[in-house]
């Protein structure tokens, strides 16, 4: 538990000092004990999401960083993307099987930015309506089936 606090503290300092492009963290959006963060994200210029504003919720279990964080899009604008469900769940392998304790909030943000930036057509995943109806509230309980690795 103590090591988790220390690590999150360091990560928070790092993301505030050198945030990835388009990413910012409002200290008011950091929950008690650092276990819940809301990260603001701007669509990168020159991409389909230019000018859009998104919010990502990060939830950390006491086992973080050995256990992956629970990351979802929240708020009024959920990006329309083939790997993002309309309830904010994200299909991204590093958030489940491919998670490594050497990854961090910054590396997750970078992956999500790159996932959005490489998108060529704004659309929802093909199984969106069924998934949103039937899924668990926690995306980590979903056994993801990665549609493709290109986007």
């Amino acid at each position: 538990m103590a090591s988790m606090q220390k690590r999150l503290q360091k990560e928070l300092i790092a993301i505030q000092k050198e945030p990835p492009p388009g990413v910012s963290v409002n200290p008011a959006n950091i929950g008690p004990n650092l276990t819940q963060w809301i990260v603001d994200m701007e669509g990168a210029s020159g991409t389909l999401y230019e000018g859009e504003h998104f919010q990502l919720s990060f939830k950390f279990s006491p086992k973080y960083p050995f256990d992956s964080p629970e990351v979802t899009f929240i708020g009024s604008n959920i990006p329309i993307h083939p790997h993002v469900y309309s309830n904010g769940h994200i299909c991204l392998s590093i958030l489940s099987e491919d998670w490594s304790p050497a990854l961090s909030v910054i590396s997750v943000c970078l992956s999500i930015i790159s996932m959005l930036s490489s998108c060529k057509e704004k659309k929802r995943p093909p199984d969106n309506s069924l998934y949103v109806k039937t899924c668990s509230k926690n995306p980590k309980k979903t056994k993801w089936w990665y549609h493709d690795d290109n986007v």
Partner: protein, 516 residues
């Protein structure tokens, strides 16, 4: 009949046979004498006895681990690699050392190591030198973000360094929560180098985690080794080791008898592939659709499924959007039938005939399946009851010992129940075999053998139900012994005949099997 009995008894190993009046058996041993392949019975018997010596060993968990270590050692004397690397390589090749040697000496080693997710031990690890040195010998662990003395950090051959605490946490999570053993890779993102067992065993100190890890490693050793198989009994932790893969029964130290090939209860005479098909058939609803096909018809217009449970043959479809009038017999429109149904003028039309033929076929298929399934289930059920019989027999045996019989003299009762159970089990699987068998001369012989065994088994079962009194005890003992010996021999004859059929490729099936 006496001579027939002689024939049967001569196959018995015990000399205590007798030919008391067993005429009611109605056994048809003559048939077996006259069957074309009958002459090879003795041969078959001899061979069978050799087969009964199918060599295998039952291993405890410790012995499995020792066996694994021995395998590694053996390979190591040849390839001369660190044992931990040999283990990962062997695991990569599913413990087939020949394959390993072949790839190791003939192929591209670099490729081999990268496929097995290990770093070639001959490559110097110094190239990945520690970069993140801070001042005064401190180093930063990227997982916990602490600055620690360099000696506190460690890495696999890939050079990704993390502190010991983080390694322990990482490994513990993988082992305890994700149940990973062999496939744990380096904690660095995107690094697929596998963690070797020595690293795990030195880093982890908690006994519970160690034990789980050892269990996972042993499990994968057994599961991917084709000469090993776990005993299928849930609470048993033994495994069997064979010298070659074959369709053979294995008797575990816990008493479970199972098939080496598929791990199911021993199921001679039917082979694994047919049994699997049978199980699937029993589980899925293919028979439900057969029932529907056999017992219902479809409305000729809207295709709704209709079961007719009475009334005349003038049908009016109850589907409110359809309401078609039709004739149940020919499925044609009702109009031309007028009032005289018997002159159903479409009766001989090909289309209607085809529909009826199809229905006949489904009906016959269903009947056939139910016939075999009922008998299979019945023996399965009886087998369950026989297990209860052991308890009551035990009581009987105690009672008999009070009637001036010695312990050894009453053992025949237990033996009789053993034989009864064996026969039930064999009979149960003969129905699976028979279900898939096409009718040939051999299948007729098989069914005769099956019938003889079945009637003898039922009689044996009946004898064991009888009350034993002081007056009839001698007689009963004689009868029971004769009967179980007879059952044993009938069972042997049946199994040998089936085996002969396998050897000579005489069996023809109603389904296609993948040739193995």
């Amino acid at each position: 009949m006496d001579s027939d009995d002689d024939f049967v008894a001569s196959e018995d190993d015990s000399g205590n046979e007798s030919n008391t009046g067993e005429d009611e058996d109605g056994l048809n041993v003559a048939l077996i004498d006259s069957e074309p392949t009958g002459s090879s019975h003795v041969d078959g018997n001899d061979r069978m006895e050799i087969e009964e010596e199918f060599p295998y060993e039952i291993l405890t968990t410790e012995q499995i681990v020792q066996h694994m270590i021995d395998c590694i050692k053996e390979v190591n004397t040849v390839v001369q690699l660190p044992p931990t690397i040999t283990r990962i390589l062997l695991n990569h090749f599913k413990w087939d050392k020949e394959k390993l040697y072949e790839r190791y000496y003939d192929g591209d080693r670099k490729m081999l190591f990268s496929e097995a997710h290990i770093i070639d031990p001959s490559e110097t690890t110094s190239q990945k030198e520690i970069k993140k040195y801070l001042h005064n010998g401190m180093e930063n662990c990227v997982i916990c973000c602490r600055d620690l003395p360099t000696s506190m950090l460690t890495s696999l051959a890939c050079g990704h360094r993390f502190c010991r605490d983080c390694w322990v946490n990482y490994l513990t999570t993988k082992i305890m929560e994700e149940g990973m053993g062999n496939k744990i890779s380096c904690a660095a993102h995107g690094c697929d180098i596998l963690v070797d067992d020595q690293t795990v065993m030195t880093l982890i100190t908690e006994p519970k985690v160690k034990l789980k890890y050892q269990h996972l490693i042993t499990n994968s050793f057994v599961e991917c080794n084709r000469l090993l198989r776990w005993c299928p009994k849930p609470e048993c932790s033994h495994a069997v080791k064979v010298q070659y893969v074959d369709f053979q029964p294995i008797k575990c130290d816990c008493g479970t008898v199972f098939c080496f090939l598929c791990g199911e209860n021993w199921h001679q005479p039917v082979k694994c592939d047919l049994l699997k098909k049978w199980r699937k058939k029993c589980d899925d609803d293919s028979e439900t659709s057969n029932w529907i096909a056999a017992n219902t018809k479809e409305c000729p217009r809207c295709n709704v499924t209709i079961e007719k449970d009475g009334g005349c043959n003038h049908m009016v479809c109850k589907n409110q959007n359809c309401k078609t009038d039709f004739c149940w017999v020919c499925l044609g429109p009702w109009e031309p039938h007028g009032s005289s149904w018997y002159s159903c003028n479409r009766y001989d039309e090909d289309e209607a005939k085809a529909a009826r033929d199809a229905q006949e076929k489904s009906r016959a298929a269903l009947q056939r399946y139910l016939f075999y399934c009922n008998r299979y289930m019945n023996h399965m059920q009886s087998l369950k009851f026989e297990n209860k019989l052991y308890a009551s027999i035990k009581e009987k045996m105690e009672e008999m010992q009070q009637h001036n019989m010695s312990w050894i003299e009453v053992q025949f009762l237990k033996k009789a129940v053993d034989v009864l159970c064996q026969c039930r089990q064999t009979l149960m699987y003969t129905y699976v075999f028979a279900y898939y068998l096409l009718k040939t001369n051999q299948s007729i012989i098989f069914e005769d053998n099956q019938r003889d065994l079945e009637s003898a088994t039922e009689k044996l079962s009946e004898y064991l139900e009888r009350d034993i009194t002081q007056d009839n005890i001698v007689d009963i003992k004689q009868r029971v012994q004769d009967k179980y010996r007879y059952c044993e021999s009938r069972r042997r004859v049946l199994l040998q005949h089936v085996q002969e059929g396998y050897d000579k490729d005489l069996w023809e099936y109603t389904v296609k099997l993948d040739k193995v």
